[in-house]
Symmetry: D2
Subunit: 339 residues, 4 copies
Amino acid sequence: MIVIMRHNASTAEVANVAARIEQLGCQAHLSEGSERTIIGVIGNDRAIDKAHIEMMSGVERTVPVLRPFKLASRDFHPMDSVFPINGISIGGKEIVMMAGPCAVESREQLLETAELVKAAGSHVLRGGAFKPRTSPYSFQGMGEAGLRILAEARQKTGMPVVTEVMSPEQVPLVTTYADILQIGARNMQNYALLHAVGEAQRPVLLKRGLMSTIEELLMSAEYILSHGNQRVILCERGIRTFETYTRNTLDINAVPLLKQLSHLPVVVDPSHGTGHWNLVAPAARAAIAAGADGLIIEVHPRPEEAMSDGEQSLRPDRFAELVETLRIIAVAVDRTLEP
Amino acid sequence: MIVIMRHNASTAEVANVAARIEQLGCQAHLSEGSERTIIGVIGNDRAIDKAHIEMMSGVERTVPVLRPFKLASRDFHPMDSVFPINGISIGGKEIVMMAGPCAVESREQLLETAELVKAAGSHVLRGGAFKPRTSPYSFQGMGEAGLRILAEARQKTGMPVVTEVMSPEQVPLVTTYADILQIGARNMQNYALLHAVGEAQRPVLLKRGLMSTIEELLMSAEYILSHGNQRVILCERGIRTFETYTRNTLDINAVPLLKQLSHLPVVVDPSHGTGHWNLVAPAARAAIAAGADGLIIEVHPRPEEAMSDGEQSLRPDRFAELVETLRIIAVAVDRTLEP
Amino acid sequence: MIVIMRHNASTAEVANVAARIEQLGCQAHLSEGSERTIIGVIGNDRAIDKAHIEMMSGVERTVPVLRPFKLASRDFHPMDSVFPINGISIGGKEIVMMAGPCAVESREQLLETAELVKAAGSHVLRGGAFKPRTSPYSFQGMGEAGLRILAEARQKTGMPVVTEVMSPEQVPLVTTYADILQIGARNMQNYALLHAVGEAQRPVLLKRGLMSTIEELLMSAEYILSHGNQRVILCERGIRTFETYTRNTLDINAVPLLKQLSHLPVVVDPSHGTGHWNLVAPAARAAIAAGADGLIIEVHPRPEEAMSDGEQSLRPDRFAELVETLRIIAVAVDRTLEP
Amino acid sequence: MIVIMRHNASTAEVANVAARIEQLGCQAHLSEGSERTIIGVIGNDRAIDKAHIEMMSGVERTVPVLRPFKLASRDFHPMDSVFPINGISIGGKEIVMMAGPCAVESREQLLETAELVKAAGSHVLRGGAFKPRTSPYSFQGMGEAGLRILAEARQKTGMPVVTEVMSPEQVPLVTTYADILQIGARNMQNYALLHAVGEAQRPVLLKRGLMSTIEELLMSAEYILSHGNQRVILCERGIRTFETYTRNTLDINAVPLLKQLSHLPVVVDPSHGTGHWNLVAPAARAAIAAGADGLIIEVHPRPEEAMSDGEQSLRPDRFAELVETLRIIAVAVDRTLEP
């Protein structure tokens, strides 16, 4: 932390701040500039609340030096995290495709979709059993019945399953059925839930909140990591901006930046990232070109009948075409996309 | 809902869309313009998923006509909702002041603060026992011990207590101690939690998410109302924008707009809305001038020692000065601020 | 400027950066922390391009210490700037009201409006002769004919006139007719225009860009000040956010913050700040309660016939009512609002 | 335009609105729903100011049906616009690379860079002679001397030149030297300047404002097209969001969306779109994968000595490596990238 004093701060005020820093267990290092005195805080200052300094007389503001995340950082863990999930591996050279419907709507719909996406090149099956919806009057998901259908599809296709968990008390139930626990964008800072999945024995797909910074995403990963679960997959899924022609703005910069800042795998959700099916394929190609470790895409055999997110779901044939073009792009970024 | 067809949509495409609308239980009303055909959907179209229309051939987009909230709307409930809470009343002519520390830190700190804010003109005591923090390494609140201290302060001062509840399973516990259940900004779309407080026997203070639109805030209120709890207080607490000199941008426009769109009481949190103590008083004055029904303000006797949010906490004497100027502004907006 | 080195930067890299800083005319002050070395740059570092340091080996990033504005800052000019404009004074204890139509539409319309707003309590007449419009097919203003009508209204009512200038070559013409030159939000970073009004002999009303930070607003003021014109009035007029129920989000926090950071007068435009006439009065009251030195408000005798911005224009009688409530709020903030 | 009446609007209010629409030259088409009456406006309603309807009694709001741009739209001009520029062609199957320094700093620097980027695969040379800077104390460009150096580099290398023009009066001068006139992001809504380049005999590279929607970008293109210049190249260069780890957020969705909405060529600027050199290559790859017609990239032989934007400039060798990977991605999207 660096403390920037006001331009007219007195010698006594500077001395008081320095004394406070030492009292809090760190060392103070003064630099007197022409217009300002600045004080460097030496030591592990993550424990110092900035208010304890900023509220002192003569202080203008403080500036953090250390990034607040540690377990999630590449400084702490320089090598890429690569972890196996029921026969596939994520974070390594292989690109991982996750596909399936927004919501499990029926046994027939899910099993049909699962077969189609597997044939088209998907490695993991996605599908929601518990659906967070902005309206209390919308379809809220099939619940446990949906989880059972997902498990059946896994058995039939061999694909591991990723599905959302919405509250701490659902964690044991969802863990019974799912291979990857998904934390939705609106729950990225639901700390009780992060704590619960941090103690679960399953990898976690952590979606970036639609108005969360990259730093906040990494801090939410830190919650999970610090509770003992080392298998966290970061997911960029679009952020909210002033643009209204698209549902969200896919933050493509986040992909290489997360790979630089963190050792955790990064996947992209171009369905939510764009909100419209005819932007999904270009955005998916962009994500792989930017260095993503995988994609999670909504696919529905009849989007015009989907119970949610139909407008951003690909038909299986379009998904299959997309996968073929991704194989070429994988070469350009020194990755592979296996059948 | 209005359906806007592509400019080159065929007669058959228009007919198909009309047929689909009728099949979904509504009537279709065609208007052929010079460049586009538009189709009005007559009937209660809240149940029609826009994707079911937008994915049809020849459709450009749909536009909603009805606001998605109903129980929260003034159309549905034209008169202001006014409800009593342990001796005070919110939503009426009287402005309600809520004040206290960000977090309960100790019995001494809370009781001292409670006496000071009551003397300065506060009607309700605020204080967090469970604290959502972006870092897993920060102080997370005193938990149930904090709730007991809040209850003791209520007994000593007579002020009702507002405190945050963070997960569905905490609702029974917090309800035992609190007069108003607070839903924090990061949980505004935690639907499991909204469901739980919707069944609780306590008024709810619902904070706008820092990334949430006014429509989404009203939809979250709708969740609570639709589960049977009619006592919802809306709280504007600043939104996230590109501006970095302030922690958040207080959306002052939201105050009169929420009063027009909804019958529910509206309070403002100028502490989070600005993020810096020396902006709190101007923002608080602005909120009352804009028509807010109350304020919730962080006050700490020694902000430089606060365990959280010290930089945005007022000292009790500054809070008392603020209340005096608010009494004058109350007159300008035909309200009263009682001692 | 502070230079933050990477956590594994070598001694040689640190030494190179220090040498570069000295070569650029400043002194380097090293602080070796447990996880990072930081280097304070002592001296006037405003001339050092951050890239010249950030591109060096071993550097993680730089952090500015000095605010980039100087002439606009309160550090440089601690007392409030108060300047007279044709019989009125802005920046002092007196609140200044500016009102009139968005655009001059005809002689009759402007003269009628001028008389009405003067009677209602306005001190300055606003009205656009050159109109920046997002569509090339919209009304673009009356041009010089509009300026002549504004001058006639000034003569009849005694009110000074504020009107927009859109390009450098218009500055001499507009200066002939106007008492205050307005720079529109979309031109806040039109540097050729800022240069031109910086050499004009008229006060400038500088509107904040709809997606400009407070720092950028002050830097644009700095352009004008540095070219010799000391009479700059800052104007908060709403920023662009994700909220769509309002045209813009009025940044009420900006009012007290600008007053703290700068000595320049601050006025607020609640018409653009909200975009809807029935939010204008609450927002105007909020602005005065937050400490604004004045308001600029769109008033039209028949908003439903206005050639632009009718939806955010007040009728004269509503403007008159607003002014009366502002007189009470002025008392609360120790200001006066004279007839 | 569709007019949505309030839920309690009277028959007389509906009739008045219908009469007004007919008076304004269009036809009114009523649809009486269960909760609202809506009125479709038939005819060319681009000329109707929404305020003329919204300010009428009983009206809740209006919704536009027609997109406000016409000449820029694909509806109006279904085929891709492809135009030749001094030996190259943009908008067709060939991807166009534009590269060079942010600013012309000296004859040596520019000629060296021009040779290097040409050898690495660039087709067009970029370089600024007039530089818009947020600080009046920063380097403002070499002016006409810089233009002459650009012309010399064109002669030596055969590459056409793109350079920025900042004000209407500079247009004749810059047109003398440049092959493509660049409109900078901060001038995207400088309508006097758009008017001037609309009458120039040169293609225009129009950068999206960092605060501008896609609709506004297309409306600014419409200004240029409507003044007679049909050769407009749209440029996505990142927008401003709440994220602070990157300078801007590259809106990758804008690429396919602009291609769908408009016939004009689309290029991407990954230098400004990210703000950091080590994110430029991934973002550039993403842009081509998403369907961009070209890229404009800042390249400097010694970024650590650049007079502006060094932190986001690629060294020539890294630029050359990037071009090689782009050749592979071009194949995936059915394009070519010629030497």
